[in-house]
C-alpha cells in the first residue's frame, strides 16, 4: 500500500529521527510512504484570519499534488498535520476561501479539499489497526512505563481534527499498549507545552513543561513520547525541575519492530 508522505522542514533538520524511523517502520508494516515531489513548507502556522489566503497556498499545493497522485496524504509532524488538515477543511467547506485560493491556482489544478489527510497515528489506527500492529512487534517494550504527550495541535480544534477526544484522548495509549509497553495516563497529557511562547516568555513555557513532566512522573512514567518537534524541544529544554527522557513515538515503534 502506498501513501503520499509529507515530512515537513523540521523532519529534515532537527527531527530527523521522527522522519527516518517513521518511514522504516511503515515499510516494515507493509506501507510505503512516498515523499511528495517538490514539497515545500506547509505554512508552519495555520492562519487564523479568514481572509489570509497567501499563507494557505503552500498547504494547498501539497494537498493538490497528493490529490493528483490519487493517494491519501500521511503526515508525521503535529504542526504540519494541523495546518494541512485545517486548510484542507477550509477548502472543503469554506466557499470564500476556496474561491480565493483557486483564483491563485492554475486552471488545471483547481482544488476542493478532495485529499484525505491522515496523521501517521491515524494511519496505524485506521489502516493497519492496533491489533495487527501488536502481532508484528518483534521486541515488545515489556515493563516500560511510558507517558504519551499529545500537546494541542493533534487534538484541537476537535471538530476539524477529528483525531481523538481532545479532553480525554486514547490513541497514543493504544499505541503504547500495541508496542508492548504500559501506558501511563496523567491529566496533563493534552495541556499546551508553551509552543512558540518560549521565545518571548520563557518563564511561562517552563511553568507549563514542569507541570506536565511532574504530573507524568507522579503517575509513574519512565519516558514520554510525542509526535511534535516543538513539544519535544519544550519538554526537553524547559522542564527545569524534573527530567524525563522524551522520544518521538516512531523511535520506539522502530525499536519494537526491530528496524532501529
Amino acid at each position: 500500500m502506498i501513501f503520499s508522505y509529507y515530512p515537513g522542514c523540521t523532519l529534515k533538520t532537527k527531527a530527523k529521527s521522527l522522519d527516518i524511523y517513521g518511514k522504516k517502520s511503515a515499510e516494515e508494516l507493509g506501507i510505503f510512504l512516498e515523499e511528495l515531489p517538490d514539497w515545500q513548507c506547509c505554512g508552519a502556522v495555520y492562519p487564523m484570519a479568514g481572509d489570509e489566503i497567501a499563507t494557505r497556498l503552500s498547504s494547498v499545493r501539497a494537498l493538490a499534488t497528493a490529490r493528483n497522485l490519487n493517494r491519501g496524504l500521511v503526515t508525521l509532524c503535529s504542526a504540519c498535520h494541523n495546518v494541512l488538515k485545517r486548510v484542507n477543511e477550509d477548502m472543503k467547506t469554506n466557499e470564500y476561501i476556496r474561491t480565493r485560493v483557486n483564483n491563485y491556482l492554475e486552471d488545471d489544478i483547481q482544488y476542493n479539499g478532495e485529499t484525505e489527510v491522515y496523521h501517521y497515528l491515524e494511519m496505524i489506527r485506521n489502516v493497519i489497526g492496533f491489533e495487527n500492529l501488536k502481532r508484528k512487534i518483534k521486541y515488545p517494550l515489556k515493563g516500560k512505563k511510558i507517558a504519551s504527550y499529545y500537546g494541542c495541535l493533534l487534538l484541537r480544534p476537535g471538530k476539524v481534527m477529528q483525531f481523538d477526544n481532545p479532553e480525554n484522548p486514547s490513541i497514543m495509549e493504544d499505541f503504547i499498549r500495541a508496542i508492548g509497553a504500559e501506558p501511563v495516563i496523567y491529566p496533563f497529557r493534552n495541556e499546551c507545552c508553551g509552543g512558540y511562547i518560549t521565545l518571548e516568555n520563557r518563564r511561562l513555557a517552563k511553568e507549563k513543561c514542569n507541570t506536565i513532566v511532574a504530573s507524568a512522573i507522579e503517575k509513574g512514567a519512565e519516558a514520554i513520547i510525542t509526535a511534535c518537534p516543538l513539544c519535544m524541544y519544550n519538554l526537553e529544554v524547559n522542564s527545569t525541575e524534573l527530567k524525563l527522557p522524551v522520544y518521538y513515538f516512531t523511535e520506539l515503534l522502530a525499536e519494537a519492530l526491530g528496524v532501529k
Binding site: E167, P187, E191, E218
Partner: protein, 661 residues
C-alpha cells in the same frame, strides 16, 4: 346565494404596519359572494366581536372570513362570535395574514398583495362551505398520570380531591422521583423528604388514587375523553399483597454489587431491594441482572427467609388495559451524561461529582449518613469548587443551549450547607451569570455570598486535573482578568438537566409534540402553558421545561385543574370536520383503512340496487366519534370516495384556484 362578510384585522400595528388593510378589504369586496367588507383595529376585542355579530345580522350574512392571526390563536373566538349572531360556526374561515404574511414580510406592497390573495382563497373556500354540527362524545371519568415524581403526585392528589379516579404509572419501583433524592430545598432549606414523603403517603392512602409502580405505558389509542391505555406492570418477583415490607430479604441477599441508583451509584445495594426507607409501595423488587437465582439458578435465600412467602420467581409481566378521559404527562428529567465534558475529569476522578451525587452525600439518609466525605478516600474535603453551567447554555454543541434554571439556586444552597456544617471549609463557585428570578431567591444567594463568605468567581473552568490526591482546577476570573488555579479536594458539577429518555416514546404514543430538546410543547406558550396541543393531554413539571419545585407544584395543580374541567363534563362536543365515505364511489380497496392512524375506518358489505339488479359491495364506513379529521384517508383514496367535511377536495382546489388566479 351566499352572502359573505370579510373582516380585516389590523392587530394593532402587527398587521397594519406591513399590510395595507384598507386595500385588502377593498379588494375582497369584489370577490364572488362578498356583500360586505371592512377593517378594524382589534377584531378579537369585545368591540370587534360585536361588530362582527352586528354585521352578520344587518347584512344577513351566510358566512364570514376574518383576515387576522393564525386560526390556532382565534378561530374559536370568531366561531363563538358568529354563533352568537345565529350563524353556524363552521361558516367562519380565517385568512392568516399575520404569522404567514405581515410577520414574515418587510415589503408593504408585496405583503398587501399576498394578504389579498390569502383573503381571496378563504372566500373561495367559504363559498363551498356547508354548515356542520358537532356531535357529542361521552367522557370517561378517570385520569392517567404518567410519572410519579412530585409533579405527578401533586396532579393526582388534586384530581382525586375533586372526586375523580386517578391512576399513577411510575416506571421505577417507588414514587417520589428526583425530589426524594434531594437533601434540602431552596430557598427555605426545608428538608425534601420531610415535605415530600407525607404527600407520597397521602397519594398511597387516597381511595381515588391507584398507583402502578415498576410499570410503563405500553400503548395509547383513542382520543380526548376516551383514551385506551395499555400499562405493563413489570414483574417485581415479589407478591405485593403478601409482602409486609419487613426488609429481611434485602438484608439477607448475598449479591451486593449492584449500583444503588437511588444513591446515584455512590454505594451498592442487593439484588432484591427497596430503593429507600420511605419508598411507596414498601415492597422490594428483584433486579434480575444481578440476582444469583436468575443468573445461576442457585441461591433463593430471599425466598427461604421471607416470613410471608411473598417471593415469586415465576412472576410474569402483567398487561393492564384501562380507559381514561384525560392524561397528565409528568415524566420529569435526568442529568445529562458528562461524556462530552472530559475537561472536568468526571469519569477519571471520583472526587469530581455531579450535583445530584452531592445531594446524596449531604443527605442524612445517604451513603455517608450526611457527612461530607470525599468518595475516593472518605476524608473531609476542605476546599470545594462548584462549577455551574456544565452543559447548560452551551453554544459548542456538546451540551444544551438552554438554561437549566435550577442550578444557580441549588449551587448557592450547596455552598451554604457546606459552610453551615463546616465553617472552616473554603468554597468557590464558578459561574457565567447567577440567575435568581424567584421569590426570595436573590436574598438567598446574597446570604451565601455575604453571610457565609462563599467565593463567587465569574468565569468558567477549562480543566480539572488530579495531582497528588488533590484536584487542580484551572479556570478564568473574567472580572480580575486573570487565570485562576485552585487546589481543591472536591469538585461539584452542576450538570444540565434534560427530559427523561422516556419522553420521546411517550410523546409518540400520545401524538403530543416535543421540541428539539425533547421537552413537551405546550398548546400556547403563554395562554395555554399546561396543555399539550393534543386534546386531553396535559403537562406537569420538567417534562415541559426546566423548573424548580414550587413552579412544578404550581404547574401540577394547574394541569390538574384543566383535567378536572374536562372530567366534570358529561359529554364533549366532537369535531365535525371528520371524514366521510361516499359509498357510491368506494371500491372497497382498504387503502384508507391502512393509513388511518386512529383505526376509525371499517368495512361493511352493503346491498345496492343497480340497473334493476341487486349487488353486494364492500364499502368503507367512518366511525365519526373516532375520526380526528387528519385527512390521510382522503389522500390515499384512489376513487375520491373519501372526503373531509369542512375541508373537501373541492374546497381545497377552490383555494388553490383562487391563489393562482
Amino acid at each position: 346565494m351566499p352572502r359573505i362578510g370579510v373582516f380585516v384585522c389590523w392587530c394593532g400595528s402587527n398587521i397594519a404596519s406591513t399590510v395595507d388593510v384598507k386595500k385588502v378589504a377593498e379588494a375582497a369586496r369584489d370577490e364572488p359572494g362578498v356583500v360586505y367588507a371592512t377593517d378594524y383595529q382589534y377584531m378579537c376585542s369585545e368591540a370587534g366581536q360585536s361588530m362582527i355579530s352586528k354585521s352578520i345580522k344587518d347584512h344577513r350574512l351566510t358566512g364570514i372570513v376574518v383576515c387576522s392571526c393564525s386560526p390556532r390563536m382565534h378561530e374559536t373566538t370568531f366561531r363563538k362570535a358568529a354563533a352568537s349572531a345565529g350563524l353556524n360556526p363552521y361558516m367562519v374561515e380565517i385568512a392568516n395574514i399575520r404569522e404567514q404574511c405581515s410577520w414574515i414580510h418587510k415589503d408593504r406592497t408585496e405583503a398587501t398583495e399576498k394578504a389579498i390573495v390569502l383573503a381571496r382563497a378563504a372566500v373561495a373556500k367559504l363559498n363551498l362551505n356547508n354548515p356542520l354540527t358537532a356531535g357529542e362524545i361521552p367522557v370517561v371519568k378517570r385520569a392517567l398520570v404518567i410519572g410519579g415524581g412530585i409533579a405527578g403526585i401533586q396532579s393526582a392528589l388534586d384530581i382525586a380531591e375533586a372526586g375523580f379516579e386517578v391512576d399513577i404509572v411510575e416506571k421505577s419501583p417507588t414514587i417520589g422521583g428526583k425530589m426524594a433524592q434531594l437533601d434540602k430545598t431552596f430557598p427555605t432549606l426545608d428538608c425534601a423528604a420531610c415535605i415530600l414523603t407525607p404527600k407520597m403517603v397521602d397519594a398511597a392512602r387516597n381511595e381515588k388514587i391507584n398507583i402502578f409502580t415498576y410499570s410503563e405505558v405500553e400503548s395509547v389509542s383513542g382520543f380526548v375523553g376516551n383514551f385506551n391505555v395499555r400499562i405493563k406492570k413489570k414483574a417485581r418477583f415479589v407478591r405485593e399483597k403478601l409482602c409486609s415490607g419487613c426488609g429481611v430479604c434485602t438484608e439477607k441477599c448475598p449479591s451486593r454489587k449492584a449500583e444503588n441508583e437511588f444513591n446515584e451509584g455512590l454505594d451498592n445495594r442487593g439484588a432484591i431491594y427497596i430503593p429507600f426507607a420511605q419508598a411507596i409501595p414498601n415492597v422490594p423488587v428483584i433486579d434480575t441482572s444481578s440476582c444469583l437465582k436468575f443468573k445461576t439458578g442457585k441461591c433463593g435465600i430471599c425466598a427461604k427467609n421471607c416470613p410471608s412467602g411473598a417471593i415469586d420467581f415465576e412472576q410474569q409481566d402483567e398487561i393492564i388495559e384501562r380507559q381514561y378521559g384525560a392524561i397528565v404527562v409528568a415524566t420529569g428529567y435526568k442529568l445529562i451524561s458528562l461524556k462530552n465534558f472530559d475537561e472536568y475529569s468526571y469519569s477519571q476522578c471520583p472526587d469530581v461529582v455531579t450535583s445530584l451525587e452531592f445531594e446524596r452525600i449531604m443527605n442524612a439518609a445517604g451513603p455517608t449518613k450526611g457527612q461530607l466525605l470525599r468518595p475516593s478516600d472518605k476524608t473531609h474535603p476542605h476546599t470545594i469548587v462548584f462549577v455551574q453551567c456544565v452543559g447548560s447554555r452551551d453554544t459548542s454543541g456538546r451540551g444544551k443551549p438552554y438554561c437549566s434554571k435550577v442550578c444557580c439556586m441549588y449551587t448557592a444552597k450547596h455552598a451554604m450547607l457546606v459552610k453551615e456544617k463546616y465553617p472552616d471549609a473554603e468554597v468557590h463557585v464558578f459561574y457565567i451569570d447567577v440567575r435568581t428570578p424567584g421569590k426570595n431567591f436573590e436574598e438567598f444567594y446574597r446570604r451565601a455570598v455575604e453571610q457565609y463568605g462563599v467565593n463567587y468567581i465569574k468565569g468558567m473552568v477549562g480543566k480539572i486535573a488530579e495531582k497528588n490526591g488533590k484536584l487542580i482546577v484551572q479556570g478564568s476570573d473574567l472580572i480580575a482578568n486573570e487565570q485562576v488555579v485552585i487546589e481543591a479536594d472536591m469538585v461539584v458539577l452542576a450538570a444540565a438537566i434534560e427530559p427523561d429518555p422516556s419522553a420521546r416514546k411517550i410523546a409518540t404514543m400520545l401524538t403530543a409534540s416535543i421540541d428539539t430538546n425533547n421537552f413537551f410543547t405546550e398548546a400556547h406558550p403563554k395562554l395555554r402553558p399546561v396543555e399539550s396541543p393534543t386534546a386531553g393531554v396535559f403537562l406537569s413539571g420538567v417534562c415541559q421545561g426546566p423548573k424548580d419545585i414550587p413552579e412544578t407544584v404550581a404547574q401540577a395543580s394547574a394541569a390538574a385543574a384543566k383535567v378536572i374541567c374536562l372530567l366534570s363534563k358529561e359529554k364533549l362536543l366532537s369535531n365535525p370536520c371528520v371524514s366521510h365515505s361516499d359509498e357510491m364511489l368506494c371500491s372497497g380497496c382498504s387503502n384508507c383503512e391502512k393509513v388511518c392512524p386512529y383505526g376509525a375506518i371499517s368495512f361493511i358489505n352493503k346491498t345496492f340496487k343497480f340497473a334493476g339488479k341487486f349487488e353486494i359491495r364492500r364499502v368503507a364506513i367512518v366511525n365519526e366519534a373516532i375520526c380526528q379529521g387528519c385527512g390521510a384517508c382522503t389522500v390515499a383514496c384512489p376513487s375520491g370516495a373519501m372526503d373531509l367535511k369542512g375541508f373537501t377536495n373541492k374546497q381545497i382546489l377552490a383555494e388553490v384556484d383562487a391563489i393562482c388566479r
